[in-house]
């Protein structure tokens, strides 16, 4: 079975990371601080004082933080599934290298998912730690928001790595961030409930994983109900994870086995 080979691929990622972790670790710690400061406290002070059409009975910081957490795991998963995948296929060709050994393309895909899980788990733990430090969440609840945020991130690993696997050049990498990841970040309920958007925009949020991740993470954080029944939200994320894995497996095979 594919399991040992996949674990060896995760081990390889970890060994490479041990040498290259500095840049990404700084952003893992710095991003939550910057966003929680600027949006949570800065913008939050205006929201909390003003009379918007939707009144919050909690500080804006507490509303916003779980949304930012869900978005952060998405960013990490997308980042890990774009440049490293392209590098493995085309630049350093580390995938080709691995395939000369007993490792299979399926091992590479499973190993990729394994490594992305490690990375977004780290992102999520650091982010929730910052939320506690900012007083946006209690420690006990903080532990509970980690699973939905990690699942939400993983929902992106398959589609994004499959997309990266078939790219011929790097312009497509920036395009995904510009036209997909950033709009999702802005319009999936991270900063405000999607009900305030024009009606035609709401369905877009329904079919993308981030909104479901924001919904479930926020519901757990604030102890409120999700918009839909939780099973639907979790179902969409699990579906993205599983279908994404199958598609990524196909695309990796198609690109690497010729």
């Amino acid at each position: 079975m594919a399991a040992p080979g996949s674990a060896l691929v995760v081990e390889r990622h970890a060994r490479v990371y041990r040498r290259t972790w500095r840049g990404s670790v700084i952003s893992t710690f710095l991003n939550p601080i910057l966003y929680l400061l600027a949006m949570g406290l800065g913008l939050g002070s205006l929201v909390d004082d003003g009379g918007g059409s939707i009144q919050l009975d909690i500080p804006y910081l507490n509303f916003l933080a779980p949304g930012l957490l869900a978005a952060a795991t998405m960013m990490t998963a997308a980042g890990e599934s774009l440049y490293p995948v392209m590098a493995g296929m085309k630049w350093s060709k580390s995938y080709h290298d691995a395939l000369a050994t007993p490792i299979s393309t399926r091992n590479l895909v499973a190993g990729h998912f394994g490594w992305v899980t490690v990375r977004i788990l780290f992102t999520s733990v650091v982010f929730t730690g910052m939320m506690v430090a900012f007083g946006a969440i209690e420690i006990g609840t903080a532990l509970l928001v980690i699973p939905p945020s990690v699942l939400g991130g993983l929902a992106f690993a398959g589609p994004v790595s499959a997309y990266a696997a078939q790219l011929e050049n790097e312009t497509g990498l920036a395009a995904l961030f510009r036209f997909v990841i950033t709009p999702l970040f802005l319009f999936s309920g991270t900063f405000y409930p999607i009900e305030v958007l024009p009606d035609w925009m709401e369905p877009i949020a329904f079919v993308t994983p981030l909104w479901h991740s924001v919904e479930t993470t926020r519901a757990v954080a604030l102890g409120i109900d999700t918009t839909w029944a939780p099973i639907f939200h979790y179902g969409v994320m699990v579906a993205f994870l599983l279908v994404g894995a199958v598609i990524a497996d196909r695309f990796f095979h198609k690109r690497l086995v010729v």
């Binding site: 040992p4 080979g5 390889r12 060994r15 350093s92 060709k93 580390s94 395939l99 000369a100 007993p102």
Partner: protein, 307 residues
């Protein structure tokens, strides 16, 4: 009789409409150094990738260690050492880390990998670069590291795709020396090359490939004896004084007129030179040499190996 390590029958590889490898047959016996000699685009690398169980066979049969690459790819690759055309090294990592990570892909125990790395770094003459990053290493060093890495699982069969392309003469000789040692240790090697001197130096047996087909097969000596004469007289004429083949009639068994020189294939260079002097042709320079695989290739395909 020993079982062949690699056996190919009507082996074919197509990419869409393009046929890269066109129904070739060959066998590789344990302990030998087997070569694919041919120009770029002859189908050598495609053949290697099929043997390496990374590229699916389009048609025909291929067995490696008696196994089918389509179903037992992982088991085959477990016993292979692969040196690809490009050095696919992790340039952000050290020499040691590159070897270690590769060894882990074979699921080897960590202590065993460390022992082997010490031996392999000595073999590759890289012991003093152990903790250095790969990026600043010279081309020859990277090549030796790639070969060392391919040996981490103590393979039964090594696949070397253009092992010395892009290296300076000194680095090439250093590398040939390492490959020669492997051969003496009984490792079976399959090499692709477009350098006839490399094929002559290293290979016990080789096939000459051109346009996806095998043009000839044999030991370097047998191919030279079978397809060309013992000696070659190379003539260069002054620019603008090209000499027609008719003027060279009877001087040699066979005459090849190339753009930059004319080759006379003869069993006795001495006799040919004497006859040449008698005809008083306007020759700028004359070189006598023994025939090589380059001459075999020219005879078989009408073209030079290296353009």
């Amino acid at each position: 009789m020993t079982e062949a390590l690699v056996r190919a029958t009507n082996l074919t590889k197509r990419f869409g409409d393009f046929t890269a490898v066109d129904s070739v047959d060959f066998t590789v016996q344990p302990g030998e150094v087997f070569g694919f000699l041919g120009p770029n685009g002859a189908g050598k690398s495609s053949t290697m990738k099929m043997i390496g169980a990374v590229s699916p066979v389009t048609e025909g049969e291929l067995s490696v260690f008696g196994l089918d690459p389509a179903t037992d790819g992982s088991a085959i690759r477990h016993r292979l050492g692969v040196v690809p055309q490009e050095n696919l090294l992790d340039t952000e990592l050290t020499v040691f880390e590159n070897l270690f990570i590769y060894g882990r892909y074979f699921d080897l125990p960590k202590t065993l990998i460390r022992e082997r790395i010490d031996e392999l770094l000595d073999f590759a003459q890289l012991a003093d670069r152990r903790e250095d990053l790969v990026d600043p290493l010279s081309g020859g060093m990277k090549r030796r590291l790639t070969i060392a890495r391919a040996l981490i699982n103590q393979p039964d069969l090594m696949l070397l795709d253009e092992p010395t392309t892009g290296l300076d003469p000194q680095a090439r000789h250093a590398l040939w020396d390492r490959l020669y040692r492997l051969k003496q240790q009984g490792v079976t090697l399959i090499i692709t090359t477009h350098y006839m001197d490399e094929a002559e130096q290293l290979c016990d047996r080789l096939v000459i490939m051109d346009e996806g087909k095998i043009a000839a097969e044999g030991s370097p000596r047998a191919l030279i004896d079978g397809y060309t004469t013992r000696e070659v007289v190379e003539l260069r004429f002054p620019v603008g004084h090209e000499v027609g083949e008719s003027e060279l009639d009877g001087l040699a068994k066979r005459v090849e007129v190339l753009p930059d020189r004319t080759l006379l294939y003869t069993d006795s260079a001495e006799q040919t030179l004497a006859d040449l002097t008698e005809r008083a042709l306007d020759v700028e320079s004359t070189i006598v040499r023994r025939a090589t695989l380059e001459d075999v290739f020219l005879r078989l395909t009408g073209r030079s190996l290296v353009d």
